[in-house]
Symmetry: C2
Subunit: 330 residues, 2 copies
């Protein structure tokens, strides 16, 4: 049984949604959940019939969201530190945390270590498209705000491996996010990256922001500054549209009835664009599997983050990244 280390207390809402997500995941498949946190508290949340799938690991501290990421290296009694340590010592195969994401990255990079040839790990996230069951992987979405062309090249290799090994796409299409599709478009850094990416058979060239959602490309490469902005912009647009519709429906009894008839449509839409469907973002380029979840994760998000960790653990993604890197003489 695969063993997954779960930072059970690092999120914004404490242990409850995390443990509920673990139980929901266990209802769908078997794995061994290492829950790191206040054992008394955690034990009270586990129904008897699931206790054989749980290993409790005591940790007395929670690393707070407003602390400086690198300070986590000194916080050996914190839930996130102990969770990563379980992976470093090979007790567990993967770690899932909804805690301080900078702290998770620091621990992953410095305690687990980077893959050979990767200078900067990146956070990858799946974005919904208009094509059913088709997602677009975007990286980096926040680990590295200032990138060089070489970093973007590495992101491409990592994204390719993820698409192939985890998303099971035979010939993933890689695109470089730019301000136009033409080869000549881009800023100084993406233009340099374009020249490096041309070596990759999977590279289809520059892509534009709207292509994230149309399914025309499988992996989109950008720096973490742009990636963070596009993620929040996307959430903002989706949230604004929902809000405008809700405000406007309220004003008309006929529209209220219409919205009732369209309930299934809106529910389907919500599922299709819902962050909880992915639940977490893998940190690519480190030696083990680290899944970073949102601090405000729901049980559903945690459940899906665990499924991501399981898929990752069962794959050969890190081998594929290493093999691909040796193919290309940067």
């Amino acid at each position: 049984m695969i063993k997954i280390a779960i930072d059970a207390m690092g999120g914004d809402f404490g242990a409850e949604p995390i443990v509920a997500g673990v139980i929901d995941a266990l209802k769908q498949r078997e794995f061994q959940a290492y829950l790191i946190g206040d054992n008394n508290k955690l034990k009270s949340l586990i129904p008897q019939e699931y206790s054989r799938f749980i290993t409790f690991v005591q940790a007395d501290e929670v690393f707070a969201m407003d602390e400086s990421a690198t300070d986590v290296l000194k916080r050996k009694e914190s839930t996130i530190y102990k969770a990563v340590e379980l992976v470093r010592t090979a007790e567990c195969k993967a770690v899932v945390s909804a805690g301080h994401s900078g702290a998770s990255m620091s621990l992953a990079t410095l305690r687990l270590g980077r893959l050979k040839g990767i200078s900067r790990p990146a956070i990858a996230t799946l974005m919904p498209t208009t094509q059913n069951n088709k997602k677009t992987l975007v990286l980096d979405v926040g680990a590295n705000v200032d990138c060089k062309a070489e970093n973007l090249f590495e992101f491409a290799i990592m994204g390719y491996a993820y698409a192939k090994e985890i998303m099971k796409i035979d010939n993933p299409r890689l695109g470089l996010l730019s301000n136009g599709e033409e080869d000549c478009k881009g800023n100084e850094i993406t233009k340099d990256a374009f020249d490096m990416l041309k070596k990759l058979d999977s590279f289809i060239g520059n892509v534009e922001g709207n292509q994230i959602f149309d399914g025309s490309v499988d992996v989109i490469i950008c720096d973490g500054f742009v990636g963070n902005i596009l993620l929040k912009t996307s959430e903002g647009v989706a949230g604004a549209i929902t809000k405008i519709i809700k405000q406007s429906v309220k004003k008309s009894p006929l529209a209220i009835l219409g919205a009732f008839f369209m309930k299934g449509v809106f529910k389907g839409l919500k599922n299709q664009i819902d962050y909880d469907e992915y639940g977490g973002a893998p940190l690519l380029g480190v030696k083990e599997c680290v899944i970073i979840s949102h601090g405000k994760s729901s049980p559903k998000a945690i459940k899906n983050a665990i499924f991501q960790a399981l898929k990752f653990s069962e794959s050969n993604i890190n081998e594929v990244i290493s093999n691909e890197l040796t193919k290309y003489d940067k």
Copy 2:
């Protein structure tokens, strides 16, 4: 009567939608429209009762979308060149073009000239928010892909002036687009820009992508690379949501009925987020008024672009920009 030079043939769909937009604008208010293009063609499109508001200016060539922007300087017989020339010679107060946007920028910068103290003009665009009648101005959205901190500072001054003079906001709130709200967030360039922007009373600090749409800030500053990506990402999300809803409605008769009852809601939403409601983006930082419209502009977009040109021409925005710049010792 304010005279507006209109590149009547530069858009993707030829003269028809442009002229239709001009007529629609004339139905709402009086101005003198200088239509630049093939006069025989254009005359045939003008209803008799509007002819007294039209001045025809013959131009034999159209500068094509796939030509290199700077080549336009040699194309003195092109519609866009002649349109800008009418402003340069002070015959007209403003120019509206749905033609090659790079060519419009080159002509504006090199023939009309930059405002004193502005090293890079920027394209500004209005974005919808969830608050009725409240828009957010975003700049730059494409004129400058590589920016220095000084450029972002100038964009802030120009955006402030636009918000005050055109949007009529008494105390505009300026935000710097970043990967987090905290002061410490940003890439190398935005961090430097942050330090410069602190001098401005109107500066509220870093803002995130979702704040474009919530009405919490009036002007958002970014470089043209990020601005272009966020614009296309926003269009992409809105388009994807519309498509998912449409696809899903089709599958259920009840939902079709519901959508019928919600027709007013969807129409209102469309109006609120529709690009055509703004119709064009002003190029800020040049000595006169240049409104850049999308090549695929509808008559409605052209009409609203003309209204933008009229508002701009009646304002003191360029004076305000110059005054504000002298206030701050960069």
